[in-house]
């Protein structure tokens, strides 16, 4: 072993360039593979650590309203108990979330922890989800008024003091209840869909009840269903329960334009991969598989590099082999020797890969939001396997080739053996594959980044800079606090416009059914109540007609004591709403009527104006299109939006912050500029773009390393030929063309493979967006040109000196 290492060392020094290129290329491949393997393990291991994971199922609902389908991860709260009476002995549990503000009375400063998620569960919850306790036990769930904290939450609320026995004040909708901490959970892996920071038993009665019977779908419902027969019967019983419930009419879709609900069960580990909206972290399987593919291909690219460089280098060692053979070494012994060298080299590369992984994992985690960590207990055995596979897989062919040289011709020839056209072809073929991979990733990177850029600069239907909003839902003393904030802002000279509205997706909206005429198909729209200054403040782009005004009685809804007194007859609609109503253009919709409200109660309204669609999210989930209703009475629980003079925003926000404690004591100060909101919504797309860029850079780097090595080898081997050609009158340019052409061709062929593959991937990916960039040939051509340029530079840097040299020098260098 020692002699093997010292032999390797001598070789490594002698073939410095090859060794370095090989170790770096393979190291990069190993690092990419390990990092993405860790990501894949994290994603595929989602919810996998519960003892019953394999037999746990979640009951979900698909909900068809009008033309849209909604997926719900929650069902109605009474479903599970009703199924359990039909299926005695069925193990099932419910999880119902509320959001509340929490104060620990032991905290002298009485810090309010706003918007904490509390999970109400059935008492048997821990039988299904076996989380470990550091204090207390699952039994505490049977007493009402007890609450269980995660270790993290306990630390956050009580610091280093023991949490057990402390009390918590939980405030929701203005009502406060007191809970006693009766248990603390050990921290568990973060890849689970179950939120368990604060757990209490579902109250039987009272204001704290999170769900309202058959009126809301808010219970995550789980059951242990180990057999197909059980699953079948569970689903059937759940369906029967619904059919005998007050919802049966809607479920059967007996109402025209009504809703239809179907149930399904999803294995716990798959819940995470549900479509958006089902699970909060709804990840996409296709992104995961793309990452796994990239990881594997990177490793493969590194291995190809190894094969290429090793076979190229081995030609230079043919003489060594020939002499060893003459001295009596057998084929087998030489094989073992060369495989040993491969082992040392891959081990070196693996160590480099591990170091790079150590650097890459935190970067990837922060870019992607995956809480991946480098778990050595899992990574090292994998790394060992990688070393063995690489040594045998990549080391075998070069070792075989090297030990197969027959001594006589090698010793008889003065020059490096050319190793036939076959070996050269294989090397070019491998380089081609590496570049096909690199070019595919390169194209995807360009498109993904272009899409992120496109979203950032998208026409969002309003003027973004200078606009900010304040949610008013926390301003609970509505008349006093909201008015105080509005008045203060109005008094500032830098605030040019101010509006109070329901705010739509920014605040709240009411979903209302809309259809063109009686009997026609209905769809859901967000009805956004707003004041007169709304359009001016947001600068919504008017496409046709006029905006509504309080000067016309028929434009305005007026409420008195919370009840509508007069209803607006005229509405401004978003472009999307008119499209869904079936109008060919905004102009075509003007003066036309539509029906607003549930079927029996629908009323006729007139379209007087059409505004551009407002785009707030990254466009990957479709929200109901807005219709705008002017209201003159104060609007509650919505948003205050204001626009400032150019550049005055920081100054206005500062003044507001100073005044805030007296305007709204105890309420968090959380204004958001529209610029921030947009940036947040495109963040994940930008992060994905960055991840892809890193992946592409690594792939291209590996391919270029390989090419550089080949070009170097080639330059060395063809030095003599170049000398002859120059003696015969070839110019430097002609020589360069010869050397470049040899390598550029595989890159161009590689593009022929990469283009359709990347096209299919990207077309699929872009269909997920409402506003996709056009998939123009530009991305394809640009990537190929770039790859060719990089490739040319790589070869150039290695061969120009040779092509320029005096021919006499090249001829002498034998």
């Amino acid at each position: 072993m020692m002699t093997m290492v010292s032999d390797f060392w001598r070789l490594a020094v002698r073939y410095r360039l090859y060794t370095a290129l090989n170790v770096i290329g393979l190291g990069l491949g190993v690092a990419t593979f390990l990092t993405l393997a860790l990501v894949a393990r994290y994603e595929l291991g989602w919810d996998g650590f519960y003892q019953q994971s394999a037999s746990l199922y979640e009951l979900q609902a698909d909900f068809v309203i009008g033309s849209g389908t909604f997926h719900m991860a929650e069902v109605h709260d009474p479903v599970l108990p009703a199924v359990q009476t039909r299926m005695p002995g069925l193990q099932g549990t419910r999880l119902e979330h509320i959001s509340a503000d929490i104060v620990a009375p032991s905290d002298i400063s009485r810090t309010v922890h706003y918007d904490q998620t509390i999970s109400f569960v059935d008492p048997n919850f821990f039988d299904l989800f076996d989380l470990k306790f550091t204090a207390g036990s699952p039994a505490v769930l049977s007493s009402p008024g007890n609450i269980i904290l995660s270790a993290t939450m306990a630390r956050r609320l009580f610091g280093e003091k023991p949490a057990l026995g402390q009390t918590l004040e939980v405030t929701r909708h203005g009502k406060t209840s007191v809970y006693r901490v009766a248990g603390v959970l050990r921290d568990h892996p973060s890849n689970t869909t179950i939120t368990t920071d604060l757990i209490a038993a579902i109250p039987k009665t009272g204001a704290d009840r999170p769900c309202d019977g058959w009126n809301t779908m808010c219970a995550q419902t789980y059951a242990v269903l180990p057999t197909a027969a059980l699953r079948q019967s569970f689903l059937q019983n759940a369906h029967d329960v619904l059919m005998t419930s007050p919802l049966s009419r809607a479920i059967e879709q007996k109402d025209p334009g009504g809703e239809k609900m179907t149930l399904r069960i999803v294995p716990l580990p798959s819940v995470h991969f549900g479509s958006d909206g089902v699970a909060e972290d709804g990840a996409s399987r296709s992104v995961l598989f793309a990452l796994i593919a990239i990881g594997t291909l990177s490793l493969l690219a590194g291995a190809m590099n190894y094969v290429n460089l090793a076979t190229a280098q081995s030609l230079g060692r043919a003489r060594e082999v020939a002499i060893r053979k003459v001295l009596g070494a057998s084929h087998t012994r030489l094989m073992i020797r060369f495989l040993g060298e491969a082992l040392v080299l891959t081990t070196l590369a693996a160590m480099l890969g591990l170091i790079l992984t150590e650097i890459a994992v935190p970067t990837v985690a922060s870019l992607s939001g995956w809480s991946v960590t480098l778990d050595y207990g899992w990574t090292l055995p994998l790394l060992g396997a990688v070393i063995v596979v690489l040594t045998l897989g990549a080391g075998f062919y070069p070792a075989f080739m090297l030990s197969s040289f027959s001594p006589a011709p090698v010793l008889a020839s003065a020059r490096l053996p050319a190793q036939g056209r076959f070996g050269a072809r294989i090397r070019l073929f491998l380089v081609g594959i590496q570049f096909a991979f690199a070019v595919t990733l390169g194209i995807c990177t360009l498109v993904v980044n272009a899409q992120a850029l496109h979203l950032r600069h998208l026409d969002r239907g309003m003027t973004i800079p200078g606009l900010a909003i304040i949610a008013t839902e926390n301003l609970n003393a509505l008349d006093r606090q909201q008015t105080a904030v509005v008045n203060l802002l109005r008094a500032m000279p830098d605030v040019t416009d101010l509006s109070v509205s329901a705010g739509g997706t920014l605040g709240r909206y009411e979903v209302g059914s809309v259809h063109r005429a009686p009997g026609q198909k209905a769809f859901m729209a967000q009805a956004i109540a707003h004041d007169e200054a709304f359009f001016r403040t947001f600068r919504l782009h008017l496409l046709a007609g006029r905006l509504t005004t309080s000067e016309r009685a028929t434009d305005v809804t007026h409420t008195k004591n919370g009840n509508p007194d007069a209803l607006a007859q005229n509405f401004v609609l978003s472009r999307e709403a008119t499209r869904k109503l079936g109008f060919s253009s905004p102009q075509a919709a003007l003066g036309q009527t539509f029906m607003f409200g549930d079927n029996d109660a629908a009323e006729k309204r007139t379209i007087v104006g059409v505004v551009e669609d407002v785009i707030l999210n990254s466009g990957q989930d479709t929200l109901p299109p807005p219709i705008y209703e002017l209201e003159t009475s104060p609007i509650e629980q919505g948003i205050i939006a204001f626009r400032t003079a150019p550049g005055a925003m920081p100054h206005v926000l500062n003044a507001l912050r100073k005044a805030w404690p007296t305007l709204a004591p105890g309420v968090p100060f959380e204004p958001q500029t529209m610029t921030e909101i947009i940036a947040e919504s495109t963040q994940s797309d930008i992060a994905r773009g960055r991840l892809f860029s890193i992946g592409a850079a690594v792939a291209i780097a590996i391919a270029c390393l390989g090419l550089y090595g080949l070009a170097a080898f080639n330059a060395e081997r063809r030095m003599h030929e170049v000398g002859i050609r120059k003696t015969l009158g070839a110019t430097t340019a002609q020589i360069m063309r010869l050397l470049l052409g040899q390598f550029l061709r595989p890159v161009l062929y590689a593009s022929l493979i990469a283009w359709p593959v990347a096209w299919v991937f990207m077309r699929n990916w872009l269909t997920g967006f409402d506003n996709p960039v056009a998939l123009t040939p530009l991305y394809f051509v640009l990537t190929t040109l770039l790859a060719a340029l990089l490739c040319a530079l790589t070869i150039f840097s290695r061969t120009f000196g040779l092509a320029r040299a005096e021919p006499a020098r090249a001829l002498r260098a034998e």
Partner: protein
């Protein structure tokens, strides 16, 4: 006068040692001459021939070829000069292993933008001239040394150069093959080609019209053979 060298000097600098391969060479060669260069190993014969063939540059002095001043030419001009005026024969043949004999010979015409048909007729003519036509499709490694050298000569003459440079063309050959090569060179000279040949064999040198002896980078004697 075809060739005029004056004050040609070639220094090699490697790390600390400085070798003067050629000292102040003065040499004139007429059109149609057959010159043999002799001298002990390391005296600068190959260096001189390389400079004459413009595949090496002198560090000083001037080299006139006809009306061209070659030391003033740039890289591309020299390449053009080589392909139009020169033919080269080496001691170690210097054929390209990956190309057939035919392709090796054609290489001397490829950089001239000559139509394919003309190239082919010239190549087959040159192969006939040296008696190698039956080996056209073979690779160099499949030929004997003498055959390889004849192929190399065919490559040197296929472009009908005005000057043929041969660096020990018979050095790697047995007596019989050596004699054959000398025969071809003499015939080419008779047909009008100017030939400069480096050799260690006094009998081959005697076949030339003029003999130049070198020692330590300098021309010491230049004698005309009485023929």
């Amino acid at each position: 006068m075809l060739i005029e060298l004056s004050h040609i000097q070639r220094l090699y600098r490697s790390d600390e040692v400085e070798t003067t391969a050629l000292h102040d060479i003065e040499l004139q060669i007429e059109k149609g001459e057959f010159v043999a260069i002799m001298g002990p190993s390391g005296c600068g014969k190959s260096t001189l021939l390389n400079i004459l063939g413009t595949i090496d540059r002198p560090t000083g002095g001037s080299y006139r070829f006809g009306e061209h001043e070659l030391t003033a030419m740039n890289e591309a001009e020299l390449a053009k000069f080589r392909r139009e005026h020169l033919g080269y024969v080496f001691q170690s043949f210097n054929l390209i292993d990956e190309l057939t004999i035919e392709e090796n010979i054609e290489l001397a015409l490829i950089y001239r933008n000559m139509p394919k048909a003309e190239r082919q007729s010239r190549v087959s003519h040159a192969m006939d001239h040296v008696g190698i036509a039956h080996r056209a499709r073979h690779y160099p490694s499949q030929l004997s040394g003498g055959q390889q050298q004849r192929a190399a000569i065919a490559r040197a003459i296929v472009g009908e150069p005005s000057l043929i440079l041969a660096d020990e063309p018979t050095g790697n050959l047995d007596t019989e093959n050596g004699a054959q090569v000398m025969d071809i060179l003499q015939r080419l000279n008779d047909e009008g080609a100017t030939i400069i040949m480096v050799t260690h064999s006094p009998s081959h040198a005697d076949l030339a019209r003029r003999r130049i002896d070198m020692l330590d980078g300098q021309v010491v004697v230049s004698v005309r053979n009485a023929i």
